[in-house]
Amino acid sequence: MSESPTDTPARIPFWRNVKTIGIFFQLVFAAVMVALALVLVNNVVEALNRTNIPANFSFLPARAGVPIAETPIPYTPNDPYWRALLIGLLNTLRVAVIGVVLATILGVVVGVMRLSTNWVARQVATGYVELIRNTPLAVQIIFWFTAVLTVVPPLSSNPITLPGGMLVSNIGIAIPWLFPGYSFGQWLPWLIAAIVIGIGTWLLFRRRIAMSDRPARRAWPLALALFILIGGGSYLLIHSRTSMPENLALDFLVDRGRGSIFIDHDASGSMAGGEQPVPYAAVIMRIEEATLNATTSNVFESRRLNPSSFRFPFIRAGEVEDAQVSFAADEDAERFSVHFTAWPSRGIIYEDRNGNGEFDEGEDLNPETGRGFSGVSMVITVYNFERYVVADRDGQVRLPRFESASEAEAEAAPAAGGPSTGLFGLNLDATADTGAELDFTYELQHTGPLVWSTPVVSVSNYDGGIRFSTSYLAMLLALVFYTAAFMAEIVRGGVQAVARGQTEAAKALGLNASQTFSMIVFPQALRIILPPMISQYLNLTKNSSLAPLAAYGELFAISVIVANQTGASVPVTLMLIAAYVVISLIFALILNIVNARIALVER
């Protein structure tokens, strides 16, 4: 091989060397960026100095004074800003976690429906997906929040009671729920043991069965039986062996309708400083005779105007032996009659113009004004009111604010009596000196490690049960329906991507349609479905930031409030972005792990 001088490339001058150009270009880029950043930061600093906007994080420990409707952890407006922001983050997680679970279920159902052989199911699913995906989430949120809200009856006119004790009204829903009672601490070790033994048994027997000659046997029934035996047995044992804590007492002001259950160390009957409230303790409260007042009005319910309505939403039929509704003024009693739509809590008044003693159409309207009779004072007298109340997280118990029926009966009210321990220490009967002229008695109840709490309405909010506000529900429903539409498409695509031969082979092996789907097609589709599904989980979490539209206090909404209140817009926005970027990174990490796992499975 001969080398002619023309073959050797001339040395490239350094200014045309790609490397030099690259470095030079980067230096210029970096210089421009740094200069730009300096100018902007300088501007921001000057603007901050000029306007006295705080630019550090010193506001965080200051008193927030921000009222938040839903607080997963205890919070009062006296708590500092960082706690308010923490509650925002927790509320984001609260809507995101439940939303992800529900959206996945709905998304899979709709995705499978889109592939169904059933024409109706296919059309319904397609219509749902197209409608939801092509409408802004914001519109869907206000649809759920404002439009659906107007159809639900307001709390003040009696919530809908669903079977099982669930309450639905315009402030949200309340669901009966189990809470840890005072003996939960004793049960907890047993519960943990039961879970550990259950899972351990399952894992152990699953391996054994897999290696045995009968691999079709299942390991979970034995594990579940063990779990129920240990967990349930210890529960019953603790329930029967333990008694109520000594000195458990109720400090209740019946005329104010509130009080708390606590450990009465000094046996004073009232809660002094240092005495701890007991959460989720149960008590039966009784009032012999009492009254509540209401005035009639023309109320909007479910987009309808209901004229001349009176409402006693705090009393339900099963809680009273008898109840009588009367008019406060004599002339009203002569003029009007009462017609119940739901005894004793809901009804209307009317003028019996034709004298037939029954309510007829139009008799609830004033012929002069064409409107209903509003502002008529009504009184309900209840006899032998009895309610089982479970204290809340802070040991608080509430009752409607009853008034005494009459002076005469008030004088007959019994004197004070401290709590007395009954035989076996199980029942405590007591009459409290309430200071009111009401015949009020209570009976603290012995409960097991778990307390079943059914929601009731006693003031302007639900008591007991687990409660979800309308804001939360609107966000949850909108996010679930919106994200599920995208998930349905992912599921459909994933299932369609599984090779046809797989289905055919499964059929040829004699598997039926559901076996083919659940054992052959779906596990393979899952590999394709999972990664985009995780991005949808992230999308749902990020989309929860539209919460201000539904007045739900999550991270973004509370950050906006804090930024507006303190003026510390720069630190708050930095924290906000950091929080969301961290959430995104966590999801990216999960995605990478899942991708790695899937890749391993494929080989």
Partner: protein, 407 residues
């Protein structure tokens, strides 16, 4: 030996019976689903019809149509936004008639649905809105004119890119105005709003984010670490937080960055800045996907032919990459169109904000039981759905035409 005479097909294998047997009553469970779901859908359709025709109060909506679509744009200057509508319909018609490329049928589909729908307000205007009667008629006729002109003189097709390009300054000129008075007097952006603003935000957002997104995508694939990591950081941070936070930040930080008072910067500018950069980060990821899909051999062959780096990128790689991601970009346009509903954060009165707050507040005194929230959200759903759904159809057709996603 004659042939066996043709017989009727066995009963229940053709026609509706067979279809129903296969699609509705394939099995017992399928039959149950058909009946239950069918009954539910019938009930739903019946209740929606009943509500629409009898219990809904459409009057507040009807009386506030102008507010919803153009907000406080001066009524005597409405010929300008409607002129833009006419211009776009005209150009669409021209494109539909002259496009000879594979995407021609898609453009024709878009044209026919847009031109067709424009006749709904035109007919309503002819009967009920005397002030814009002839303007709507003109706009709709401009669409037809464009189509006819394109059919008669197909050579217009070659100048279409220029015409579309020229329509952008023309639109700005028409909507914003030039002088202090006269027919082209300036209309401040504070008077802009309604659906007009929604379309402006979505269009400017997607158009302005395109070059930034391409630059970011190229930067992310660059071999120069400084540029590469800057682009990665920008894309990931912007995509990491939701749009609503960027809008919030834009409303707080843009005045600080320029060291001016909070009122000095037009809310439209703040909204556009946030939307554009947010959209650009997503655009960058879409374009990057396209760039990755272009085989290495393409750029190597181009370099072997002696094309420079810029030429390789702009003539060989980018066209192929963009073609591959066109459906994804349309998908992003749909997302952006829907996301413009969040600009209430910067204090703009777009279509959504007017439907959500302005009209319900204005009609509160009418004491309609339950307010007009349901009516407003149904109407907004219809409008958003029409445009977004039309785009998603186009995106699907593009996907098919360009053979993207086929193996």
């Amino acid at each position: 030996m004659g042939m066996i005479p043709a017989r009727e097909p066995p009963a229940g294998t053709t026609g509706f019976t067979a279809w129903a047997r296969h699609n509705l009553f394939g099995s017992v469970s399928s039959g149950i689903i058909s009946v239950l779901l069918g009954a539910f859908m019938l009930w739903a359709v019946f209740s929606i019809l009943n509500w629409t025709l009898f219990s809904a109060s459409w009057e507040p909506l009807w009386n506030n149509m102008r507010l919803l679509f153009v907000y406080r744009y001066p009524p005597e200057l409405l010929w300008r936004p409607l002129g833009v509508v006419g211009l776009v319909l005209f150009l669409l018609g021209l494109s539909a008639a002259t496009s000879r490329r594979e995407t021609g049928s898609i453009i024709r589909g878009v044209y026919w649905s847009m031109a067709g729908v424009s006749w709904i307000p035109t007919v309503i205007a002819l009967f009920a809105w005397p002030s814009v009667r002839w303007l709507w008629l003109g706009a709709s006729l401009a669409g037809l004119l464009g189509l006819l002109l394109g059919r008669a003189l197909p050579r217009f097709g070659r100048s279409l890119p220029w015409l579309w390009g020229a329509s952008i300054p023309a639109t700005v000129l028409l909507l914003y105005g030039v002088w202090n008075s006269g027919p082209l007097q300036m209309v401040g952006t504070r008077l802009w709003g309604g659906f007009m603003l929604t379309l402006v935000l979505a269009t400017v957002g997607i158009v302005a984010s395109f070059p930034i997104g391409v630059a970011l995508a190229l930067g992310r694939r660059s071999t120069l670490p400084a540029i590469k990591y800057f682009c990665i950081a920008f894309i990931e941070i912007v995509r990491g937080a939701p749009l609503i936070t960027w809008l919030f930040i834009a409303s707080l930080m843009v005045p600080l960055i320029f060291n001016v008072g909070p009122e000095a910067i037009d809310p439209l500018v703040r909204g556009l800045v946030a939307i554009t950069f947010f959209s650009a980060a997503y655009m960058a990821e879409n374009v990057r996907g396209g760039l990755q899909a272009v085989p290495r051999g393409q750029s190597e062959a181009a370099r072997a032919l002696g094309l420079s780096g810029w030429q390789t990128m702009s003539v060989i790689v980018l066209p192929q990459a963009l073609k591959a991601v066109l459906p994804a970009i349309v998908g992003q346009a749909i997302g952006l169109f829907k996301d413009t509903s969040l600009v209430f954060i910067v204090g703009l009165f777009d279509f959504f904000e007017i439907g959500r707050r302005v009209i319900p507040n204005q009609t509160a005194s009418l004491q309609i039981p339950g307010g007009v929230y349901m009516e407003m959200s149904v109407f907004m759903t219809l409008i958003y759905f029409f445009f977004a759904y039309r785009m998603s159809i186009a995106s699907r057709q593009l996907e098919k035409q360009l053979g993207v996603g086929e193996r």
